[in-house]
Symmetry: C2
Subunit: 159 residues, 2 copies
């Protein structure tokens, strides 16, 4: 099966949201997706877009996508964060994921960023093995910390 | 000792870099800081700034800072990432860190972000305890993955 990869357009956002939901399901948090197609259209295609995407297509159907955006390291300078890399379950094994990955890393390299970064679930062994094989490092000693909307509100109310 | 907090200006970047180096030393990676004052000036104060800062001042001396920037969650939408929160060693215990923290979270709350996020070293127990006390969650199952400049080059060369 032949696929092609191109930059995501505003009209791809319904398909992108389906893929986001498929990944959330795989990551065992299907209820966590609060975002809508309208949010993705507004946030990714306004005056100051908050992310970019690449999509993989087979016969006009979006079967995979990578979503990424700039970050900043106070040690290295500008970086690119890969937020999501998703291939439809019934289209795995066709090399689509590794081609999307290559495309994002090539994009970062052309921009001259000093680092690419992302996160992975510690039980997602196939992903971890793939990343290691490409020369990426798993940083075992850094933990992610988050405050959601309710935690932010509770904290500020408590002051 | 009285301190005040304000938004960081371009002329604060030399002091900001000193604090970044102090934190890298504390994090046992003193050699990791490759960034220069000129980089911080260019990246933080151009047409499309890559970060914002708050600085804490005592008698005109910068004694602490928080550096942060927008990110994007495909589950929640716009977020703020707190990259660094640093107080000079000889100015700890004056509540400066918690006031900088409050300032950044207030900023995110006013923007209407759905999440604040950052990372912490797993051995930095005082920081972890502080974050937990404010209602933040430590996500134990997510690992950070990175490719540095050399790894990016090696990976792309290998294709």
């Amino acid at each position: 099966m032949n696929f092609s990869i191109r930059e995501g357009k505003i009209t791809d956002m319904p398909s992108v949201l389906s893929l986001i939901k498929e990944l959330a399901h795989f990551e065992k948090e299907p209820e966590a997706v609060e975002i809508s197609v309208a949010d993705l259209e507004k946030d990714g295609f306004g005056n100051a877009p908050l992310f970019k995407t690449y999509v993989a297509e087979i016969d006009g159907e979006i079967v995979g996508m990578a979503l990424f955006y700039p970050r900043y390291s106070t040690w290295k300078g500008p970086t690119i964060h890969l937020e999501d890399l998703i291939v439809k379950k019934n289209k795995r094994g066709l090399n689509i994921g590794s081609e999307l990955y290559k495309k994002v890393i090539t994009y970062g390299s052309k921009l001259g960023v000093k680092r690419m970064e992302w996160v992975v679930l510690d039980w997602n062994t196939p992903a971890i093995e793939f990343y290691k094989k490409t020369g990426a490092y798993i940083l075992d000693d850094w933990k992610t910390v988050q405050m959601d909307e309710l935690a932010i509100k509770n904290y500020l109310d408590s002051l």
